[in-house]
């Protein structure tokens, strides 16, 4: 089954205006009808919580209403329909297959909306390596665009981690890339080499929902640039910037009016079928290789505070 990753996340929010402003400031493009796209067309869609077109909400208050997965070809869509129709209702509508997963999340499948990207990576110069940038090409542009390139991954809170993981592994052929003991596995679908497009955290039933969603940025510099701009606009940095161990991706998480964390990530590991998953305890040591906190800009120079302001006596 050639599933690529999440194509679109659909939310029913209680503050549409705030969500629109947030997603635009985050760097997604408002393409109308409540949809906010990354450069490749993957998207977050917001509607008012009581919008009749939305699937039913979870009882927990989570604003996530549906996760739509993108697949590579019609054969995969047909295979998914055949597999999931064995034990649940699968509705076909507008080219999508709609059903629930084994945790009760509303999910959908469609021929992917992703547009192929042809963009440069972050280019670096490193002693001993061929220079990444041309002579006289500077690496920093304060005003550079920093736009999310593609929807990277989602992380659910689920009441039965094993049932949920097994659904994606056994039925949809996702692969475990790494595991946090007693917390959840990182999962990669067949048509994507990213370390994870799906992760889950075991919680009580009343917590079921979305821990975060993340978009890939060009690289760590663009992640820092985008995150710094969010802080400057007054948004609440939740965790980061830092770099995860599992997946190796740089991260910076923000709170959001969508009632979930929204992350920038960059430079995630790629894996194929030769990879053997690792396992470690969830905790600060395993969750990141390092962690920073944003502070206001500063520069060395001048006298220390309270020492006469530099005027001679």
């Amino acid at each position: 089954m050639r599933i690529i990753g999440p194509d679109e996340l659909i939310f029913g929010v209680d503050n549409v205006d705030a969500s629109r402003t947030f997603l635009t400031d985050y760097g997604l493009a408002d393409v109308g009808d409540g949809t906010f796209e990354a450069l490749d067309g993957t998207a977050v869609t917001i509607r008012a919580r009581d919008d009749a077109s939305l699937p039913p909400a979870l009882e927990t208050g989570s604003m996530l209403r549906r996760t739509v997965w993108g697949v590579e070809d019609q054969a995969s869509l047909d295979a998914i329909e055949a597999e999931l129709s064995k034990d649940r209702e699968v509705v076909k509508a507008n080219g999508q297959l709609l059903c629930k997963d084994d945790a009760g999340f509303e999910i959908g499948f469609q021929l992917t909306r992703r547009r192929a990207l042809d963009l440069p990576a972050e280019l670096i110069n490193s002693p001993g390596a061929k220079p990444g940038r041309a002579m006289n090409e500077v690496g920093v542009d304060q005003d550079a665009e920093a736009k999310p390139r593609t929807l990277s991954h989602i992380v659910y809170f689920v009441p039965d981690m094993d049932a949920m993981a097994n659904f994606y592994i056994d039925r949809l052929k996702f692969v475990v890339t790494d595991k946090f003991t007693n917390t959840g596995p990182f999962l990669r679908p067949q048509a994507n080499n990213d370390h994870h497009v799906l992760f889950m955290i075991q919680t009580s039933p009343y917590m079921q929902g979305l821990e975060h969603l993340a978009f890939h940025m060009q690289g760590p510099t663009e992640l820092m640039l985008a995150g710094s701009r969010m802080v400057q606009k007054g948004y609440e940095s939740f965790w980061g910037p830092g770099r995860h161990k599992f997946g190796s991706n740089w991260f910076w998480y923000f709170n959001s009016p969508l009632g979930t964390h929204v992350e920038y990530d960059a430079d995630m590991d790629h894996h194929d079928g030769d990879w053997i998953h690792r396992e470690g305890p969830m905790g600060p040591e395993q969750a990141q290789v390092f962690l920073f906190e944003h502070v206001e800009k500063w520069a060395p120079g001048g006298p220390p505070p309270g020492k006469g302001g530099g005027k001679p006596a």
């Binding site: 503050n15 009343y206 609440e236 923000f254 959001s256 009016p257 009632g259």
Partner: protein, 125 residues
């Protein structure tokens, strides 16, 4: 900077400067981040630490001063959407249902809003 709780020698603000039924964040110890917030409802001011009981030391706003849900009827944690009653800080729905926000004792004297007693730092370090 001392990390011990300490008494504040200045009020947080004038009550009349607080917009009604809106939240305002404060950083009483100058830690660089808002470690508490207040919501004024008429003559009443409700004050809570900026700590969601769901996660250890989780900050709650989605933007400076934005601690409420869309219709301003509840406190909302913008980490995972938990909704709390403004009056008593009890979580009614969401990942920390039944848990309560940490109150900040406050007093109104001469039209100014004061923290009562020592105030502990709240910034992660």
């Amino acid at each position: 900077m001392s990390w011990e709780p300490r008494e504040l020698t200045e009020p947080l603000c004038r009550v009349e400067d607080l917009p009604d039924a809106r939240s305002v964040g404060f950083d009483p110890l100058g830690e660089g981040r808002d470690t508490m917030f207040v919501v004024r409802k008429g003559a009443q001011v409700h004050a809570w630490r900026n700590l969601c009981p769901h996660y250890d030391r989780a900050r709650m706003a989605w933007k400076k001063n934005e601690f409420l849900n869309g219709d301003h009827s509840r406190i909302m944690c913008a980490a995972h959407g938990a909704l709390f009653r403004i009056e008593d800080g009890v979580c009614e729905i969401g990942p920390c249902i039944g848990a309560r926000l940490t109150p900040v004792p406050v007093d109104i004297r001469g039209g100014a809003l004061w923290i009562v007693g020592p105030y502990a730092p709240g910034f992660r370090r």
